[in-house]
Amino acid sequence: MELLNASLVEWSRAQFAMTAAYHWLFVPLTLGLGLIVCIMESIYVKSGDEKWKHATKFWMTVFGINFAIGVATGLILEFEFGTNWSNYSWLVGDIFGAPLAIEGILAFFLEATFLSLMFFGWKKLSKGGHLAATWLCVIGATISAFWILTANAWMQYPAGSHLVAASQRMEMTNFWDVLSPVAFNKFFHAVVSSWVLGATFVLGVSCWFLLKKRNVAFALKSVKIASIVGLVAIVLTILTGHSSAREVAAKQPMKLAAMEGLYDGTTNAKLVAFGIINPSKTYDNKENPFIFKIDVPIPGFLSWIATYDSKSFIPGVNDILNGGYTQFDGTQALSFAEKQARGIAANSALKQFSIFYNQKDTVSANAVWAEQAENTKYFGYSHIDKAADMIPNVPLVFYSFHIMVLLGGLFLLLFIVALIMKGKIEKAKWLQIIALICIPLAYLCSQMGWVVTEVGRYPWAINEVLPLNAAVSKLATGSVQLTFFLFLVLFTALLIAEVTIMVKQIRKGPQEN
C-alpha cells in the first residue's frame, strides 16, 4: 500500500481549518447578538416601550441574516469528520459521536423550531410567548455550542475512554468523565467570548448610527445594553481564559510552550507580553527563540498562572522532548523517544492480539495485551516518526495567542470607557470611531483563539491518542484539493452576499414608527 503522503494530511487540515474558520465567523455573532436580542425583548415585554421592540426587531433581522450561513457551514463541519478523517471517526467515534448526536436531539431542534416562532410568531403568540420563543432559540444555540465544545474539549483532553484491543478502537468508559473541567472551561470561554464579539458588534454598529447622527435614541439604547453585556462578558472571558490556560499547562504542556515561545523550561517563568520570534530557531539549535521580546514585569508570572506557584517549573519544547522533569501531577516526564518505543511496543501487541483473537485464542490474546497494559496509552506515538514532528508551528501559535490576549485587553478598556462615557458618547466621535474599528478586531481575536486551540494541539487529532497522519482518510490529494477550492469559492461568495445584505440592512436602520 502506498504511503500516505504529507500533502494529503496538510490539505485535509487546510480544508477543515477553512470550514471551521468560516463557521466561527458566524457562530459567535449568533451567540452574542442572540443574548442582546433576548435582553432587549425582555426589557420591551417588561416596560411595554415600543422603542425597545423596534430595537429588538432590528437586531433580530441582523441575527437572521447571520444565522443562515452559520447553520450552513456547521453542517459541512459535522460531516467532514467522516469525509476527511475516517480513521478518526472510527477510532474515537464511540466517544466523539455521542456529543454530536445529543447536540442534534437536544439543541438543533430547539433552535430551529423556536427560530421559526421568533421570526414568524410576532402576531401569533402573546408578548410573553414570543419572548419565551426568543430565549429558547438562543438557549438552543448555546446548548448546541456546549455539546460541540465538549467534543472539541475531548480532543484536547480525551478523558473517560481507553483503547480496547478486541474492537481495535477507543471506547467510552464513563460518559460523565467526558464532561471534564476542560469541557466546561472551553464552553464558558468560547460562549462568553462570543458575547464579547456580539457586544462589540452592537456597540460598533450603534456608534456608526451616532457618527451619522441617525436613529440616535435607538443607538443610545443599544450602546447601553452592549456596554453592560460587553463589560460583564470580557471580565468572564479573562477569568475563563485563565482557567483554560491552567488546563493547558497541566494537560497540553507542548501547547503552552508554543504559546509562550518557550524552548528551554525554567522555574520562576516569566510571561511574555509581546515579542518577535526568531524564524531560524529550531528545537535542536542554540539560537535565541526571540529577536525581540518584552516580558510582563512580574517575576514568575507564567509559573503562577499555570500552577498558582510563582516558583514552579514550566517545561519548554526541549524539556518535553527530552523528558526527565517533574510534571504537575508529581510524576517524571518520559522523553519522546521513550514514549515512541512504548507506543511501538503497544502497536506490536495490538497486532499480535488481533492474530490470536482471530484464531479464537483469547487466552494468548489477552496475555499479550495485558503485558503491554502500561504502554497502551502511548499507542499513538507509534505513528509519529521523529521528535521534530512533535512540535506545533511555534510562531503561529505564539502570535495568535498574544494577539488574542492584547485584543482582549483592548476590549476591556473599550467597554469600561463606553460605560463611563455613556452619557457623553453621542459627542465622543473618537470613541465612536474606535468602537467601529473594534468590530473586525473582535473577529480577529475570536479566530486567533481557535488557531491557538487547534494548531497548538499539533501533531495530534486527539491529544496523545491519535496523530493527524493516522487519522486522515485515504483519498487522492487532488480530491481534497477539489473540495477545498469548491468550498472556498462557495463560502467566500456567500460571505460577500451576507456582508452586503447585512450592510444594506444596517443602512436601512430600525423601523422606529
Partner: protein, 384 residues
Amino acid sequence: MMTLSFLQNYWWFIVSLLGGILVFLLFVQGGQSLIFQLAKNTDERKLLVNVLGRKWGFTYTTLATFGGGFFASFPLFYSTSFSGAIYVWMLLLLCFVLQAVSYEYMDKPGNIFGAKTYQIFLFINGLLATVLIGTAVATFYTGSDFTVNKINLTDLGAPTVSVWNSAWHGIEAAFNVHNLCLGVTIFFLARTLALLYFINRISAKHETILARVRKQLWINAIIFVVFFLAFVIWTFLSKGFAVNPDTQEVFMQPFKYFLNLWQMPVVLIFFLLGVVAVLYGIGITLFCKGNRRGIWFAGVGTVVTVACLLLIAGWNNTAFYPATPDLQSSLTLKNASSSLTTLKTMFFVSFLVPFVLAYIFWAWRVLEKKQTDIAEVKSEEDDY
C-alpha cells in the same frame, strides 16, 4: 434487557425512524423543484417560497441529527461511507448549503446575486438532494466498492481502516440502474408530498395555482408509484447480504430482503400499512375534491414505509452496508456499532425524542393555524 445486541437493534430502529422522517421532510426539496413549474408570476412564487420556507429548517436539522445519530451509534459506517463516497456526500452537503442561505437572502435588499440565482439554488437542492439521498440509500441493498480492515491501524505506513476502491468515490452508484431507481423514486415522492402539502397549506382563494398543483399531482404520483414498485420488486427478487449469526460470516442469500419481511411479520404489517397510507393520502386528494388532509396520511405512510425498508436492511442478520469486493468487509449491526456504554448512554438520551416531537408539533400548529394566502405573506415583516 440492555444487552449490546438489544441496543444495536434499538439504535438501528432509531436510525431507520430518523431516515423515514428525513425522507418525509424532503417534501421541502420536492416543493423547491416545482417552483418554476407551478408559479407563473412573482406573487405565486412568493407564496410557494413562503409556504415551504417555514419548514426548511426541520429537514436540515433532521439531516444533521441523522448524521450525528449514525456517528454515535454506528461510527464505522460514518467513517467508511463518508470518506469513501466523498463526492456524493460533498455534493449533497453543497446543495444543502445553497438551500440554507437561499430562503434568507433571496428577497433581501442588497442581494448582489439576484433572487433568480437563489431560486435556481433551491431547484438544484430539490433535484440533487432527493436523487442523491435515494441513490446512496439504495447501496444498502446493492453494495458498495470498499474494504475494511481494522488491524490496518497498526500499519505504520498506511493505517487507514476503510478504503474505497473506486476513484469515482460514490458517483459510480448513480450508474447502477437499481440504485438510480430509488433516487428517482425519492425525487418523485418528494414532489408528490410537496404537492399534497401545497394543497393543505395554500388558501382556496388561489384557485389557479391549486389547479396546477392538482394536475402535477397526477403526473408525479404515477411516476413515483411506478418507480417505487420497480425498486421494491427488484430488491425483493434480488439476492441480499445475509449474516451467519453464529460465525458472523456474510454471504449472498436469494430473496433476502423479502424473507426479512416475511420473517418479521410486524415489520411486514407496518410496511403494508405505510404503503396503503401513502396511496390513500394521494387517492383522497385526487379523487375527493376539497379534501386537504392527504399530506397527513401520505406523510405518516412515508415515515413508516421508509423506516421499514431500512429495518429490513439491518435487522434479521443482514449486512446493512455491504461491501461488494470483499463480503467480509460488509458492515453489520455487530461489527460497526458503538460500545455498550455509548449505546446505553444514547439510549437514555433518545427518551427525549417524544418531547422534541411534541414541541415541534405545537410550534407547527401555532404557525399553521390557517391556510396561507399572498396577502398574509405580504403583511409579514419577515417574509421570504
